[in-house]
Amino acid sequence: MSGISVFINMIMNILSDIVLLIGLIFVFLGMLGLIRLPDVYNRLHTTAKIGTLGAFGVMLSILMRAGFAPIGIKAIAVGLFLLLTAPIAAHMITRAAHRHGVGLCKESIIDEYGEARER
């Protein structure tokens, strides 16, 4: 009996390490996109999606390692909150930037929202 539980414990530890590494790499790639992409709308694509999923992965790895202890439940609460609020914050800041007068970058090919607002 104890041999099986030790085995499951080891498997969960290895899986949580893998999920933690994937989450860290995704967060790093999101921040790399912040420096490489040309304008604010494209930068939001990386921080609102990749950064949030990376943070959720780190919190999920804490839950997998600690089980349903208080630290694991609080970690998954933080992860779910991030996943719920990231699209709302991205939508608000995009709309505010467009109405504030931040233009699209010079590679852009179409802007139907600006045309609809001029009419």
């Binding site: 699209p87 699209l104 609809a116």
Partner: protein, 164 residues
Amino acid sequence: MIRYIPLAAIFGIIWCFVHGTFSLVSFIFGLLIGLLAIRPFRFLYRPEMNFRLFSPPNRIVSIIRYFMVLIKEIIKANIAVAKIVTKPKINISPGIIAVPIRCKTDLSITGIANTITLTPGTITVDISDDHSTLYVHCIDASDPAAICASIRDDLEKYVLEAFE
């Protein structure tokens, strides 16, 4: 006051998450705090808003299928954007396009907007005044008709089944 019990139950579950222990004592404590917290803000809850705690069973199956599709799309989105970021030379053609939608209620419009933000390469910017068109920023806008078709066929079907 009895009308606010389902809302206060949601507060109780959130309190269980924040407190870190799932037990009946902490749930009831959170429910009482939730009732106290709802009382000053009860003008925000309209009386005609019928809040159902239990949905019909066929609705629950559609909601579960919607969340499966959402998880699959989130993973696909992250791999797609990570590929763009790690390319040595960034070659993109972004733009904002107008996407017509069929959703009518506020809940389903919120659902489709959040789903679009979490799917590959698209972010919702705004909704038109008559609630019939979403403006979507795409990281690759070279073919607007294909993006409209993919949103209509792949995502909006599940949102309509689940929330309307």
